[in-house]
């Protein structure tokens, strides 16, 4: 990590949703602010800025991380993924997103991007995730609208679907 100077901006080179980006930021800028206000990807939401609500969750090198607890400078050279990268095509939802829509796993949608990023990482790392695994991963997120049940159902349905796709002949 290079020495940073509080008085000026520093360049941050990293990969964002599969593309190389180069951004300028003061060293105190949060990753959530960099993504939302400098780069303009507003899908990552901010609900508390102290690491509890989970709305700001993104993936850094494949692992879920709180963008509000990450300084922008920390993602130099990393691979960052946000909710904007989940759908295979702007007009097509990913299986996880489609399951959320089918099962009414969202109301206001403010907590949703963070939850999707956590669940996406879970289902990739643990394709056999069951109800309890899903609940445990969800417990790092606050949703004030849904009461969670439909989110769990959506995640279970997506996991099921993913398993079917991966073993087409089974």
């Amino acid at each position: 990590m290079p020495r940073l100077n509080a008085a000026r901006k520093h360049t941050i080179d990293f990969t964002l949703n599969g593309k190389a980006v180069s951004a300028e930021a003061e060293n105190r800028m949060l990753l959530s602010d960099l993504l939302r206000h400098e780069i303009g990807l507003t899908g990552t939401h901010v609900g508390c800025e102290h690491g509890v609500c989970g709305a700001c969750t993104v993936q850094i090198d494949g692992k879920p991380a709180r963008a509000c607890l990450t300084l922008a400078q920390q993602v130099r050279g990393s691979d960052v993924r946000t909710v904007e990268a989940l759908a295979p095509d702007p007009a097509v939802l990913s299986p996880l997103q489609a399951a959320f829509r089918r099962h009414h796993g969202l109301q206001c949608g403010f907590c949703t991007p963070g939850i999707l990023m956590s669940l996406d990482a879970l289902l990739r790392e643990q394709p056999d995730a069951g109800r309890e695994d899903i609940r445990e991963h969800l417990s790092g997120h606050l949703c004030r609208c849904t009461g969670y049940a439909t989110i769990v159902e959506a995640a279970l349905a997506a996991a099921e679907e993913q398993r079917k796709e991966e073993t087409p002949n089974a």
Binding site: T42, T44, H45, H104, Q107, C143, R144
Partner: protein, 991 residues
């Protein structure tokens, strides 16, 4: 009202939501996502660290000088350009969105900074110097009424801002004649359904027209628009208010953004640029808005069989530091249904509203319901217990009979429809009450703590805009003129290609209004849902709206969706007339089916919807006479049943009244006091269901918030007014782990008063669930005074009695809260140094040494021989702040002992304390002993009470370590009360 016919093609089905694709892919447009003008600046707000203090002076010089700062404003600057906000009662009091000469709650705005970005704006806040004179605070509503209580608003003379008594029937006689009089006293706590998205405002000012243009994630009611315009001193048409397309939840709370609309508008005017402000979570929890806390005494006159003949309510409502519009509405929203689901003919009510040093209150899901039903349903349990009756029988015996609807309650409400007995019986049967009872008996037989609770409530929806005037006397009302009704508005419009647009003033925050409206309108016009597009944003300068517009009081399904159906029907009947001419039949033979207008008797005789619909654009002169245009129909709908209060104070406060019956089984862990909800059954009658998936979503969401209110959530204050739950780690919102899955049942009795037969549904569980759980806990423990939230520590107190201090208090045990309610810390320690006593003494009195040894000191000035002033930067956990400390020396016994006392004040809070330092000569030099007592308030107390004990100890320890080093200290000093040592010792003991 004749109910509209339904085809059932779309309405009533759980279709996928049109909102979701955008929200799931990160393309939502919440307020902080909206594009802004390039010259937009950002606002940050300096807030009071004190619960109650006078403002002696504010020095903004340094903040103004910071590069990137465009404007700094104090309360006086804002007041020069505005007027006090309207107060909802007649009282000699002003209500400003920012403090002027006095702060009355922690978090109250004190100054505004506008800067090039939020980071710089917050830097500038740190440079503002406010000189406060702290006053005693009062946070308890009953204490606030005491003769010697500190008075928040001197112009009022006391903290009681409004009082009214009401009487319906003959409550005195009923109470006098009753076989039993049974009463209960309830203190309902403060909480908030706090959404995950905080407040946001973007404001512009056009000086040429003296006009404001503001976008805010406000939720309504738009009666508040009048309050904003008046405060900004402009006519309503110069205060354009718009809402963003998406809003991240509200649950009533975003009504409370309006004072910030005023502040941001003024900031835009003063700084000459658009101003954006996004609230942070600490600001939100501390100072946005909360539900009221209320102390209620409720007495019932009861016959021997459990039949209630009268209720006498005494309600003391705590609205916080200011009575902000629309308060005291929380106290009056339920006025028409103060008898709940029961037929009780005599009612007495005494309502008092008191102000305390807490955040002003406002809308919150359930609005007034939780407070009422907690008292009423706890009382029903108690009546059954005292009379030795079955609790369910007492509920049954008092329910409004099924054949009595529409039923006029004693206080003037008109319960529209229902069959409470059947709903209750079905809930018991389908919810498995019998099995649950067996479960309880089995658990108890094993010695476990298990209880069953019930709650029956009436859930009002579609508020009468006149209910708040019930607080005026009939004479005052007569003078002011009647207020009533609830104008809902919807527009259905057809474009030149014949596609359909719907526009409503409903301002949803996640409730799927766009989906339901597409269902309703498409069904009426025989179209596919996709053929209808809905817009729910509101722009007061362009759209049809009324003071009743917005998303509150569960008015969407009964009122707004109904208005949209009526607007669609108006277009439909005109289109039928046009098509009839083209098809050569009479209009009554036209069916709207699959995008066509069809001759019912000859389906081949048909014309496409688009063709008929567009005719009004392309060939208006071909339309049959009397059709007018079919381009746009706007319907305003207000129900006749919502009348102004009667001369006898009767008020139908809401149009619809759903019914809820809940029961639950809870188990309490004897060892920890932890409550787990074993089973929860909730039966709803919300009239006709328009979208079953969304109705259940509303029920589950409300239920989860109610579980939070029952078990975890409370806006906690120290006795000095300091706010103690400023993070989501302190204010505990249930996660998936704490949220059980309720069994949801429905019993539909359509409302005869709404176009679609629907009633509201979103708020009911916030009313029924807290008391249902409390009743179950009471059943399990046999405790009467059940208080929320039911935290394990509170439950343990009931299980084991209050925790008593150990007989021999340990020297340095920290005390959680002091007598004044502040967070108190005590501790002691010692250090051995090689320097002589005299030279240590000299060091303690020398500003240069002090500067070197006070952790984080930039500057220490000697004001007098016994008075020093220091500038210090301290970090606790992630929070770093700059403080100014005043230190005074007293009880000086040179060179043996001195008492240091001081106070510190900074952006993050305040502290004060005293320490006694004694110096003893030893063989090798001097031993320094110290003991201290400190209290901490303000922001640091809100965000991390738990962090403080350790952090303060570390800082104080560092001071003495540095002193020891300076004085040639030997080994590391021993901190007698070191946290680590204590923890280590504790673990050792355990093993």
């Amino acid at each position: 009202m004749t109910r509209l016919e339904m085809t059932g093609a779309l309405v009533g089905r759980t279709v996928e939501r049109v909102e979701d694709a955008g929200l799931l892919t990160g393309r939502g447009r919440y307020i902080d996502d909206l594009p802004v003008r390039r010259d937009t600046a950002h606002m940050a707000i300096l807030r009071s660290p004190h619960g109650h203090a006078g403002i002696r002076a504010i020095d903004t010089t340094a903040a103004r000088a910071l590069p990137g700062v465009f404007a700094v404003m104090t309360g006086e600057d804002v007041a020069r350009l505005t007027r006090s906000m309207t107060v909802g009662v007649k009282a000699n009091v002003e209500c400003w969105p920012i403090a002027r000469d006095r702060v009355r709650y922690v978090g109250e705005p004190v100054a505004l900074v506008v800067a090039e970005n939020r980071y710089v704006a917050e830097d500038a806040l740190d440079l503002i110097d406010v000189d406060y004179e702290t006053f005693n605070a009062v946070v308890d509503p009953e204490k606030a009424l005491a003769a010697d209580a500190p008075v928040l608003h001197p112009s009022l003379g006391s903290n009681l801002i409004n009082e009214r008594t009401f009487r319906y029937g003959n409550p005195e006689a009923a109470l006098a004649e009753a076989a039993h009089r049974i009463s209960i006293r309830i203190a309902y706590p403060r909480n908030s359904c706090t959404p995950i998205e905080t407040y946001g405002v973007i404001a512009e000012y056009e000086p040429g027209e003296d006009a404001y243009d503001v976008t805010a994630n406000f939720q309504g009611p738009f009666s508040i628009h009048a309050v904003i315009s008046r405060a900004l001193n402009v006519p309503g048409n110069r205060m354009r208010l718009r809402t963003p397309p998406d809003s991240g939840g509200s649950f009533g709370i975003k009504q409370g953004v309006f004072p910030y609309v005023i502040l941001a508008a003024v900031a835009a005017r003063v700084s000459g640029r658009p101003v954006k402000w996004i609230e942070d979570r600490l600001e939100h929890l501390t100072a946005s808005v909360s539900a009221t806390n209320r102390v209620t005494t409720l007495e019932a006159a009861v016959a021997a069989d459990g039949r209630i003949t009268a209720l006498s309510w005494d309600q003391l409502e705590d609205c916080g530091a200011h009575l902000r519009a629309p308060e005291p509405a929380t106290l009056y929203r339920m006025h028409g249904n103060m008898t709940g689901a029961y037929a009780i003919e005599n009612v007495a009510i005494r309502n008092r509203v008191v102000l305390t040093n807490k955040t002003p209150t406002g809308l919150n899901r359930g609005f007034g319901g939780p407070q009422i039903y907690f008292a009423l349903e706890r009382l029903i349990h108690k009546i059954a217990d005292e009379l030795g009756l079955d609790r369910l029988d007492v509920i049954r015996r008092n329910l409004v009979p099924a054949n009595a609807f529409p039923y006029r309650t004693a206080t003037g409400g008109l319960l529209d429809s229902g069959d409470y007995q059947t709903a209750l019986d079905r809930a018991c049967a389908e919810g498995g009450l019998e099995a649950l009872r067996q479960r309880r008996d089995a658990a108890r037989a094993e010695g476990r703590l298990y209880g069953i609770g019930y709650a029956a409530v009436v859930e009002p929806s579609v508020s009468n805009m006149g209910y708040i005037t019930t607080l005026l006397t009939p004479e005052e009302r007569a003078k002011a003129g009647p207020k009533n009704g609830a104008q809902a508005v919807a527009t259905v419009a057809i474009d030149p290609l014949g596609s359909v647009n719907v526009k409503v003033a409903s301002v949803p925050q996640g409730q799927g209004h766009r989906t339901v409206l597409a269902q309703v309108v498409a069904e009426r016009l025989g179209l596919a849902m996709e053929a209808v597009r809905v817009n729910t944003e509101l722009d007061t300068a362009r759209d049809a709206w009324s003071i009743a517009s917005g998303n509150y009081a569960s008015r969407f399904a009964p009122a707004v969706a109904g208005a949209a159906a009526l607007a669609a029907d108006r277009i439909r009947s005109k289109l039928a007339t046009i098509a009839a001419g083209q098809l050569n039949i009479t209009a009554d033979r036209i069916d709207f089916r699959a995008g066509k207008l069809v001759d019912r008797d000859n389906p081949d005789n048909a014309v496409s919807f688009g063709r008929v619909a567009a005719a009004s654009h392309w060939a208006p002169s071909t339309l049959p006479e009397g059709t007018g245009q079919t381009i746009r129909e706007t319907v305003f709908w207000t129900p006749d049943q919502l009348q102004a209060p009667t001369a006898a104070d009767g008020i139908n406060s809401s149009l619809c009244h759903g019914f809820i019956f809940d029961f639950c089984g809870v188990e309490i862990d004897r060892a920890t006091g932890q409550i787990s909800i074993d089973r929860y059954v909730t039966m709803h009658d919300c009239g006709r269901i328009l979208h079953p998936g969304m109705v259940d979503g509303q029920v589950r969401g409300g239920f989860a918030q109610a579980v939070g209110a029952a078990l975890y959530e409370e806006y906690a204050y120290g006795g000095d007014g300091s706010f103690l739950t400023g993070t989501l780690a302190d204010y505990l919102i249930p996660t998936v782990m704490e949220t059980p899955e309720p069994l949801i049942l429905h019993h539909e009795t359509p409302s005869p008063f709404t176009p679609l037969g629907a009633k509201g549904v979103g708020e009911g569980n916030c009313m029924s669930t807290p008391v249902c759980i409390a009743n179950a806990v009471a059943d399990a423990l046999g405790v009467e005074d059940i208080r929320l939230p039911l935290s394990p520590s509170r439950v343990s107190e009931w299980l084991y009695g209050e925790e008593r201090p150990r007989t021999a208090p340990q020297n340095a045990a920290p005390v959680a809260t002091g007598a004044s309610g502040e967070r108190m810390l005590t501790g002691s320690g010692s250090a051995e140094v090689t320097a002589t006593r005299q030279s240590v003494w000299a060091m303690l009195l020398d500003p240069n040494t002090l500067k070197a040894i006070i952790p984080g000191a930039h500057e220490v000035r000697k004001v007098s021989d016994t008075h020093f002033r220091a500038e210090v930067t301290l970090g606790i956990g992630p929070v770093k702040g700059r403080y100014r400390a005043d230190i005074r020396l007293s009880d000086m016994v040179e060179p043996e002992a001195v008492t240091l006392s001081g106070g510190t004040e900074g952006a993050l809070g305040s502290g004060c304390g005293t320490g006694r330092v004694t110096l003893t000569e030893t063989a090798t030099g001097t031993r320094i002993d110290y003991r201290y007592e400190a209290a901490i308030g303000g922001k640091v107390a809100s965000v991390g009470g738990r962090l403080l004990d350790g952090a303060a100890r570390v800082v104080i320890g560092q001071f003495f370590q540095a002193l020891a080093r300076h004085a040639g200290g030997g080994g590391p000093p021993s901190a007698a009360a070191g946290l680590i040592q204590r923890l280590v010792a504790l673990f050792r003991r355990r093993r």
